[in-house]
């Protein structure tokens, strides 16, 4: 055999090692297995989400979130009721009347806040 030039040899090498197409049955096999895996993973994720909601340890976050919301609402009512305190004091005839007016104001602010939510 004559000595091949380097470039020619690489060309021959490229021809000798041509890419090989996978058989169709392999494609079907791999795709089917991957699909099964994907479905199993989705099922696992869904069951984890449902399971997580059933587990009382996972209720902490929503409860804390609700508590934070309630505390913030309460603080807002108190603040608004306090802001109007001088007006109510001037309008009330006695301390009992002031208490009644304050309670009504607090209930009113709470209703306003509830309607807005």
């Amino acid at each position: 055999m004559s000595q091949p030039a380097h470039a020619d040899f690489e060309s021959m090498l490229r021809l000798a090692l041509q890419p090989v197409d996978p058989p169709e049955k392999l494609k079907a096999r791999v795709e089917s297995t991957l699909q099964e895996l994907t479905d199993a993973a989705v099922d696992e994720l869904e069951s984890w989400e449902i399971g997580a909601m059933r587990d009382p340890r996972n209720w902490v976050r929503p409860v804390v979130a609700s508590a934070v919301g309630v505390s913030a609402g309460t603080a807002l009512v108190v603040l608004r009721v306090r802001q109007e305190r001088k007006k109510r004091a001037a309008a009330s005839s006695d301390p009992l009347d002031l208490l009644r007016r304050t309670m009504r104001a607090a209930a009113g602010e709470a209703r306003k806040l509830a309607r807005r939510d």
Partner: protein
């Protein structure tokens, strides 16, 4: 991971599979030398890749994932040989490779030489053979081969050069 992330990940993996199935199969075929084992190796490679895809994608930093896939196939092939404690069960099916060639006169004339090249490739050390498969069957560049083999770019360049030289010598001596 929520369902949306999962759907995106699956879509990306499907694309990876679609684009590189032929690469993985070609690598597997030339590595193990027969279609039966090549099919098993290809399937196992994609199953393994699927399991670790999320992390690989996150760590790839946008770089191509082909070297990662080929490295998985390489590790599985090593395990296959270790389990069987021997070289490929059967020789590369030369007729399959050669039948993929065009039947022009030039190529018919070159068939003997191609057959000699294929025979000589089988006798190369594993690492050199792998580097040649990646370069010539898969068209990977030095950087990709380096990543797949866990070597530096420089070491890969030297490895390829020596592999070609050795092969050329083997073919000339036959």
């Amino acid at each position: 991971m929520d369902s949306l992330d999962k759907a995106r990940l699956d879509k990306d993996f499907s694309e990876l599979y679609r684009v590189h199935l032929r690469d993985v199969y070609s690598y597997a075929y030339y590595r193990v030398g027969n279609h039966h084992d090549a099919e098993d190796l290809t399937e196992q490679t994609f199953l393994q890749a699927y399991r670790h895809f999320e992390r690989a994608q996150a760590e790839s930093d946008g770089r191509p994932l082909r070297p990662w896939l080929i490295r998985i196939a390489h590790n599985l092939a090593v395990n296959l040989y270790r389990d069987r404690s021997r070289r490929p069960q059967t020789a590369i099916d030369d007729t399959t490779v050669l039948s993929t060639l065009h039947t022009t006169e030039d190529l018919v004339e070159g068939r003997d030489e191609l057959a000699r090249i294929i025979e000589a490739i089988k006798t190369l050390p594993d690492e050199r053979r792998e580097a040649l498969i990646m370069r010539f069957a898969l068209g990977m560049d030095n950087r990709e081969i380096a990543r797949a083999m866990g070597k530096t770019d420089g070491a890969t360049k030297v490895l390829l050069h020596r592999a070609i030289k050795q092969l050329e010598g083997l073919v000339m001596s036959t």
